[in-house]
């Protein structure tokens, strides 16, 4: 099962390779990984999307915690969380396709961030299913280039009354 693990680490050289080395050395799977400094510049936040059965995920969390440069590990699947991924997609657009592309951009609340007579560069953000969906729709027009950030995620604040909080939170 897919898990999103949020890892707070020391912001210093070599930490990424320690984390990556842990995954490769123990045969764990990384589907995506994103890293950036936090508000406190001495720390970085990693969001790791991984998968495995219960015991593997338990080992991943424990092994991450064991790394000396890791300050905090949260398996977000144990709580409610929100996650987002951004994709930048460069699409071939000619004649009638340009209007079709803009319609799709509109439907997905995406943005055109660059434009040439024959291409649009589209930025879209959302959960992976939404990204997959827009890619599928744009594909017939001809995708020239595609980059994705991998997911970032954060736990939801328990701001609402407990009874409501336990409900599955609708996305968006």
């Amino acid at each position: 099962m897919e898990h999103i693990i949020s890892v707070t680490v020391e912001n210093k050289f070599g930490v990424l390779s320690r984390v990556a080395g842990l995954f490769s050395g123990r045969g764990f799977n990384i589907e995506s990984l994103s890293v950036a400094p936090t508000l406190d510049p001495s720390m970085s936040q990693m969001t790791i999307v991984t998968s495995g059965d219960e015991r593997i995920i338990e080992q991943i969390v424990k092994q991450l915690n064991k790394l000396i440069d890791v300050i905090k590990v949260v398996d977000l699947n144990e709580t409610e969380f929100v996650s987002r991924e951004t994709a930048i997609i460069k699409v071939h657009t000619k004649d009638a396709d340009r209007a079709e592309a803009l319609r799709i951009v509109d439907i997905f609340r995406a943005n055109v961030i660059d434009s040439t007579p024959s291409t649009y560069t589209i930025e879209v953000s959302g959960d992976p299913k939404k990204i997959e969906a827009i890619i599928n729709l744009l594909q017939p027009l001809g995708i020239k280039d595609l980059v994705r950030t991998g997911r970032v995620a954060v736990a939801r604040e328990p701001a609402r009354p407990v009874a409501v909080q336990t409900k599955k939170v609708a996305r968006d």
């Binding site: 020391e10 390779s17 320690r18």
Partner: protein, 591 residues
């Protein structure tokens, strides 16, 4: 006053109580060696190979319980010490390795003798540091010793570029260390401990399964109290030997692939496994799906990742063995009474039945070839009064040593468990001897493994480390040969050593003493002569080449299904003692 990086290095070692450094010089560490040369507080033992330096530091650490220290140069110095780091990492040995590095300005330029020491050592160290600024050196070394010796111990590497060892800085040594991502748990969870104590009280067939963690946390006394109070039998892992007295009536000996019959049977049929500082290695569990099918499992370990890594655990307790055992004892002291003994009588009857049915056994003919077990047994009986430290290499001789050399106390057993490093034994013994100059230090080795670090004999002679090496010389990589006989239809692919050197002459060439046992009747006299010598000694004992080590659980087999003797198709024609000749080999192959 400002000190150079090299001076700071030595000041830090002194603050950490380091008396001995196992080292081999090279271009980028010359400043450090030059500074070491001009002082008397820290002794340098010059090894002949960096792997030797690493294993010596390990032996020193295992025998003293303190961090062992080695110092190597960049590039090949570093790559050579990797095996020792990996070994120490697997066996949780506290050790700090200092490596030289090319000057910071050249790092990444493929400079002469440059290697990515941090990258190379990352998967085989608990942590590693590259010191880029001499002002950080003292604090880094403090952290290195702190990380190496606390929590689950392990090797730490400190990489020091040449310019850092030469630059100057104000020296201040921090009093304490605080690392926000590193806070080992020493106190076990109280509720879990209570649950465990209750389970111990109720169990009808409990077994203590203890490992190296008991030794590193100095918890032998607490373990002894627990076992005696509750009358629970004790199984030791290879790394745990010595944690509990081997001759104690509650000791069932070593468990696992070559463990005793009673140890493995008791484990398999127990209803409560109390694992203390052991990690359910595959050499212990055998087939995981059929491991301890009737038991609840309590697992005490300071490393949370060890728990539920290989097998499911009912009562996990993350904490230091000593602290947790004390709490067990405190609770149990108030509750234990005669009832447990009564409750467990059938269990002990059963264990004694197992013990009597299949004790460790071998057959030594009076005039026949020398059996390796006989050598270990006599060595044990002749030296036990001197409370020796014993090291081994890896293979058949190691397992026989584990079976027949019954250690009474912890920190006497130096062996490579997790990584299984041939060539470990001799340098490890030297490291222990460097820490305890007056003690008797034995190295039980095979003729294959001793050759992997034979060059250190020069170190032993020059540095006056009078280790006694007993080579069980069967002309083979014996364990490989055993597996080939059992599982590869006796095809001895690269296990026959053909030309083994004359170890007596070799010892002589190094300026050490070489002795040979020619027949079994001479064994005692030669061993006694060796023990009475104050120089390093090699005792070459040609042993029966086709002796197999039993009991044996075939890899992936189940713990109660042990091979106890050679299968009928393997009964071999007895060949003479002494060096195996190709003719012997042919007889066996065609037999």
């Amino acid at each position: 006053m400002k000190l150079t990086g090299a001076e700071i290095f030595i000041e830090c070692l002194k603050r950490e109580g380091v008396k001995t450094v196992f080292a081999l010089p090279g271009g980028v560490v010359l400043k450090i060696f030059d500074t070491l040369y001009q002082q008397k507080d820290v002794e340098v033992i010059l090894t002949r190979h960096e792997q030797g330096a690493g294993h010596m530091a390990e032996g020193y650490a295992k025998a003293t319980g303190k961090a062992g220290v080695c110092l190597v140069t960049s590039g090949p110095g570093m790559t050579n010490v990797i095996t020792a780091l990996a070994d120490a990492y697997m066996d949780s040995v506290p050790m700090v390795c200092f490596s030289g590095q090319v000057p910071t300005s050249l790092i990444g330029n493929d400079a002469f003798q440059e290697a990515d020491n941090i990258g190379l050592s990352r998967p085989c160290t608990k942590y590693n540091f590259l010191v880029k600024d001499v002002n950080d050196l003292a604090a880094t070394i403090k952290e290195a010793f702190y990380i190496a010796t606390t929590g689950r111990p392990g090797p730490v590497l400190v990489d020091i570029p040449k310019d850092v060892s030469m630059a100057k800085a104000e020296f201040t040594y921090p009093n304490s260390v605080s690392i926000r991502g590193y806070n080992p748990t020493y106190e076990g969870n109280k509720w879990q401990i209570k649950q465990a104590a209750e389970a111990i009280m109720k169990a009808k067939k409990p077994i203590l399964y203890v490992g190296g963690g008991v030794i590193f946390s100095s918890a032998s006394q607490e373990l002894l109290e627990l076992a005696e109070m509750t009358q629970i039998p004790v199984d030791m892992t290879l790394m745990g030997l010595g944690a509990f007295p081997g001759e104690h009536p509650l000791s069932l000996g070593m468990l696992g692939m070559h463990g005793t019959y009673q140890a493995n049977m008791a484990m398999h049929y127990s209803d409560l496994v109390i694992a203390i500082g052991a990690r359910f290695d595959d050499r212990v569990t055998g087939k995981v799906s059929e491991f301890c099918p009737y038991a609840k499992v309590i697992h005490v370990d300071i490393d949370p990742t060890s728990i539920r890594k290989n097998i499911n655990v009912d009562i996990p307790i993350v904490g230091d063995c000593k602290t947790v055992l004390r709490e067990f004892n405190q609770i149990l002291r108030a509750t234990v009474n005669g009832e447990q003994k009564e409750l467990r009588k059938p269990w002990w009857d059963q264990i004694q039945e197992w013990q009597q049915a299949h004790p460790l056994t071998y057959h030594q003919e009076k005039d026949g070839p020398i059996k390796p077990q006989q050598v270990v047994k006599r060595l044990y009986e002749l030296t036990r009064d001197r409370d020796p430290i014993v090291s081994t290499d890896v293979g058949q001789h190691q397992m026989w040593a584990a079976q027949y050399f019954k250690l009474a106390k912890p920190n006497r057993w130096l062996t490579s468990g997790g990584l299984g490093t041939m060539g470990f034994g001799f340098p490890a013994a030297m490291g222990a001897q460097a820490a305890f100059r007056d003690r008797l230090v034995l190295c039980i080795a095979g003729d294959g493994s001793i050759q992997m670090n034979m060059q250190e004999m020069a170190t032993a002679v020059v540095s006056k480390l009078p280790v006694k090496i007993i080579i069980l010389n069967n002309g083979f990589h014996g364990m490989v040969r055993q597996w080939q006989d059992l599982f590869y239809e006796g095809r001895y692919a690269s296990s026959y050593l053909d030309t083994t050197p004359d170890f007596v002459k070799l010892a002589d060439a190094y300026g050490a003493v070489g002795l040979r046992v020619k027949k079994v009747g001479d064994l005692d006299a030669v061993l006694k002569e060796a023990m009475a010598t104050d120089k390093p000694v090699i005792v070459d004992v040609p042993t029966y080449p086709y002796e197999n080590c039993y009991p044996m659980i075939p890899a992936g087999g189940c713990n109660h299904e042990m091979l106890l003797e050679d299968p009928p198709e393997l009964k071999k024609k007895q060949v003479g003692a002494g060096k195996v000749t190709p003719e012997d080999k042919d007889t066996v192959l065609t037999a």
